[in-house]
């Protein structure tokens, strides 16, 4: 909590946090002072001059017309935004900004959520008095995602401040001078940044718009939206998908202050195609015959009972998915409990072991895992275990903020990545060898301040780590690095932690809900399940949302696979569903509700879009119906999350009450950590 100051706005005294600019304070108070170039994440630039207000340093002192975004609030300041001089200044300024603005709102995709429209109305500019010709610009082809219409620019510089200064991209810039300032690339070509989609949001006008949305355009006021979570990685960005006429039209970031804040990556933003895809499963099937979902569930339940009766315990098994919600995976586990079956989750045995270890370290409070805004605050970062730019893009953007602040970055990755350009040192090594390098750093830490280290990379990383005040290690618990890498990162952190200086540790995972399913009790290694299917010991296999999981190699075409009765509960007609004996279709991620846990173990609730979807039930509901059809319906009400997952009983009940617009719930088992959280 920072200190409070008192400032008077339009004659009313308000309390505000010290050290902020006046515009931000007004916006937080819900007072709309027109502005363009100021953005909470990008800061003030003083470029547009629209946020003019009469500001006096204190009672009795003369007030002057000043830019609110460029003025730091001090105790006792008096701000008047309704002063006629300020109002007149803003009105004239908007008129000037509109001199060259085209007459194309009807065909502009920004219309309806356009800051320029809002500010023009707010400043009461209604008539264009200027009769001179308007300046025009040629547009550029910016690739498959972003449409460019340069005529609409009002030179607020937000785009380059985001693209170059915030996201450290270098292929979008500002050219020209005076009345000829142009925002674009050197020449036509796709924007290379992973975060280019945010230009659509930061640009207050329609210069940058979403090409995919453009192709199926409708006005934003017609979109039906639902607070959701991006399904594409373990960061768990909060998003707002919008739909109309039975189709998903676009995805936008949803503001929150604990995860992705204002932005999201292009992979998440433009990766919603699976909802509208042609390969959605729309009808149920049993033994090759199409039928209603209810009938298919009944028949599947009968067959499962038969198999259990003939082959006894352990003849049925299930494979859960890190791409499905906690609810869906819980229902699957419950189904197996009902049938005394076995279960595992997609992936390989080694990977699962690594995920479980990492998730347990976090949930038990043995490591201090930062949220994304905390990642941005670090003054030393070591990345190990994978390419963060591809596997957790928004964490990459958070690391870029540390780079901007001058913090050293060290990278150990399997191949060259985009962050290498900003690293103090980058080492490329296969994942299984990375644990050894991390241990070298831990060893070097003992003699950190000695020169002449045997391994210069480890030496440099160790000495930077030794002197940092808020160091962090980001470790990919995603692949072949396995449990050795997870442990190596943990011991390095354990060594680096000093009483006066915490050292934070992130484990990022391969999928949206990898953390959640890693807390499951009694799951087996996926390898043993696969083996037992192949050697015929397992007679029935239920596969949950294979379409959303990462294992595309399995189930395969092999003969033993075919002799096993397979049930696919899926939204997408992928490999598993095509070959399955019973196909039970379910709603896709954006059409349903549930809970997922991101890399921090933050349980977040998402809601479904009200699409009149081909199938109305989520995979969790389909599985619960199946349990009911087996006659075990009463088990559903008796079961709590903590019966199936390593979640403290107190938190278990909270999960059910989570609201989608809350901060979520950090799953921690130790009381000490819970206090910090609570």
């Amino acid at each position: 909590m920072s200190a409070k100051i008192k400032i008077t706005v339009n004659g009313v005294m308000h309390e505000a946090e010290a050290g902020r600019n006046i515009l931000q304070i007004l916006l937080d108070l819900g007072i709309m002072l027109p502005h363009f170039c100021y953005h909470e994440a990008l800061g003030a630039a003083g470029a547009c001059r629209l946020c003019a207000a009469m500001i006096s340093p204190g009672a009795g002192k003369p007030a002057r017309l000043e830019m609110a975004c460029m003025t730091r609030a001090e105790d006792g300041m008096i701000v008047d935004i309704t002063n006629p001089q300020a109002v007149d200044f803003r009105e004239k300024l908007i008129e000037e900004l509109m001199l060259n603005h085209p007459h194309d709102c009807p065909v502009c995709d920004e219309g309806g959520e356009c800051m320029l429209q809002d500010m023009t109305v707010l400043c009461r500019h209604q008539h264009r008095r200027n009769r001179f010709p308007k300046r025009t610009w040629r547009n550029q082809d910016l690739g498959p995602h972003i449409h460019h219409e340069m005529n609409r620019c009002i030179t607020c510089y937000r785009c380059v401040r985001f693209y170059r200064d915030y996201a450290l991209g270098d292929d979008l810039g500002v050219f020209g001078s005076r009345g000829r300032v142009y925002f674009g690339r050197m020449r036509d070509g796709a924007l290379v940044s992973e975060f280019s989609g945010n230009l659509v949001d930061v640009c207050p006008t329609g210069v940058f718009t979403d090409k995919h949305f453009r192709a199926v355009y409708c006005r934003p006021w017609d979109l039906q939206t639902a607070p959701s979570i991006c399904p594409h990685c373990s960061v768990g960005c909060n998003v707002l998908p919008g739909s109309r006429h039975k189709t998903l039209r676009r995805i936008k970031p949803r503001r929150n202050h604990t995860v992705n804040r204002f932005f999201m990556c292009d992979h998440g933003r433009f990766g919603g195609g699976f909802v509208n895809a042609d390969n959605r499963l729309t009808s149920a099937r049993f033994d090759g015959a199409g039928m209603s979902l209810d009938d298919a569930i009944t028949q599947t339940a009968e067959r499962l009972k038969e198999i259990v009766q003939t082959h006894g315990r352990g003849a049925v098994a299930a494979i859960g998915s890190p791409g499905a919600s906690l609810e869906a995976n819980a229902a699957l586990i419950l189904l197996m409990k009902t049938l005394e079956g076995r279960f595992a989750f997609f992936s390989t045995g080694a990977e699962r072991a690594a995920h479980k270890r990492a998730a347990a370290l976090i949930a038990n409070g043995q490591v201090d895992t930062p949220s994304l805004p905390e990642v941005e605050q670090a003054d030393f970062t070591l990345i190990v275990g994978g390419d963060i730019t591809r596997e957790a893009p928004m964490m990459d953007l958070a690391v870029r903020q540390t780079i901007r602040a001058g913090a050293p970055l060290f990278i150990i990755s399997p191949q060259a990545g985009k962050l290498d350009a900003f690293a103090k040192a980058a080492r490329h090594a296969a994942l299984p060898e990375q644990a050894a390098i991390v241990s070298n750093i831990a060893q070097a830490l003992d003699h950190a301040l000695m020169t002449g280290q045997p391994d210069p990379f480890a030496g440099a990383a160790a000495s930077a780590l030794a002197t940092a005040k808020r160091p962090q290690i980001l470790c990919g618990a995603t692949g072949a690095g396995g449990i050795a890498l997870v442990d190596a990162a943990h011991s390095l952190v354990a060594k680096a932690v000093r009483p006066e200086r915490p050292c934070r540790l992130v484990y990022w995972f391969p999928a949206m809900n990898s953390f959640g399913i890693s807390l499951a009790r009694n799951d087996e290694s996926p390898d043993t399940i696969k083996q037992d299917v192949e050697n015929g010991r397992i007679k029935a296999l239920t596969i949950l949302e294979h379409g959303a999981s990462l294992d595309s190699e399995w189930p395969d075409d092999s003969k033993p696979m075919k002799s096993c009765f397979t049930i696919a509960v899926d939204a997408i007609a992928g490999k598993a569903a095509t070959d399955a004996d019973a196909v039970l279709p379910c709603a896709s991620h954006y059409e349903t509700f549930g809970t997922v846990m991101n890399y921090e173990g933050r349980a977040q609730r998402f809601e479904g879009l009200p699409l009149p979807r081909p199938v109305t039930w989520s995979s969790a509901e389909v599985l619960l119906k199946l349990i009911e059809a087996l006659g075990a319906g009463e088990a559903i009400n008796r079961t709590e999350y903590h019966d199936l997952f390593e979640i403290p009983a107190t938190m278990s009940s909270l999960i059910g009450t989570l609201a989608p617009d809350s901060e979520g719930l950090l799953i921690r088992s130790t009381a000490a950590v819970r206090e910090v959280v609570g």
């Binding site: 009807p106 050219f175 000829r180």
Partner: protein, 176 residues
């Protein structure tokens, strides 16, 4: 009091008698057509540009303003750079002929006409699609062409070639 009643009756009869000798204003519809003022708010049409292309740019403003929400459309981007409606439906069973849509339309595309003879025996016939709404002329405002002032490049009209625009600026030049 009696006198008053008789006087009122006589006054009424005098008015009636007066109308007996005037020309009737009733017309024999449908044999005889009424004269409808040109700004009458009747059957809605979608007009075309002076150059014969769709005027509607699928801006959704008519749909947004319509108080009974009887308009539904979908935008599409055409190969010639124009935007238009791939689908445009008006449900005349719901339309209250308020004319708000015409007022909101930035391109003068949607216009209400003096035609009110739309009665039918089936409600479904009152759902008009784009092809039922389109006419080949400009209707009111015969010279207006939105694309000439929009500032967007379309086939046959590059940037700067519209009305009151300068040729595309060159940001690489330092000349004034």
């Amino acid at each position: 009091m009696i006198c008053g009643v008789v006087r009122d009756m006589l006054t009424g009869m005098k008015i009636t008698a007066g109308y007996l000798f005037r020309r009737p204003i009733t017309i024999q519809y449908p044999e005889q057509k009424p004269i409808i003022p040109p700004r009458w708010r009747g059957r809605i049409v979608l007009t075309s540009d002076p150059d014969g292309e769709d005027r509607c740019v699928a801006c959704y403003l008519c749909q947004a303003v319509c108080p009974v929400q009887c308009i539904d459309l979908q935008a599409e981007n055409r190969p010639d750079g124009r935007r238009g409606a791939s689908r445009f439906d008006i449900n005349f069973a719901r339309c209250i002929f308020c004319g708000f849509c015409e007022e909101a339309c930035p391109t003068y595309s949607i216009q209400l006409t003096p035609d009110f003879e739309m009665s039918t025996t089936a409600r479904t016939n009152l759902l008009y699609h784009k092809e039922d709404l389109q006419i080949s002329g400009t209707g009111k405002h015969p010279e207006y062409s939105y694309w000439k002032v929009a500032g967007v490049a379309i086939k046959g009209q590059d940037k700067g070639e519209g009305i009151n625009q300068t040729a595309p600026a060159d940001y690489r030049s330092n000349l004034p």
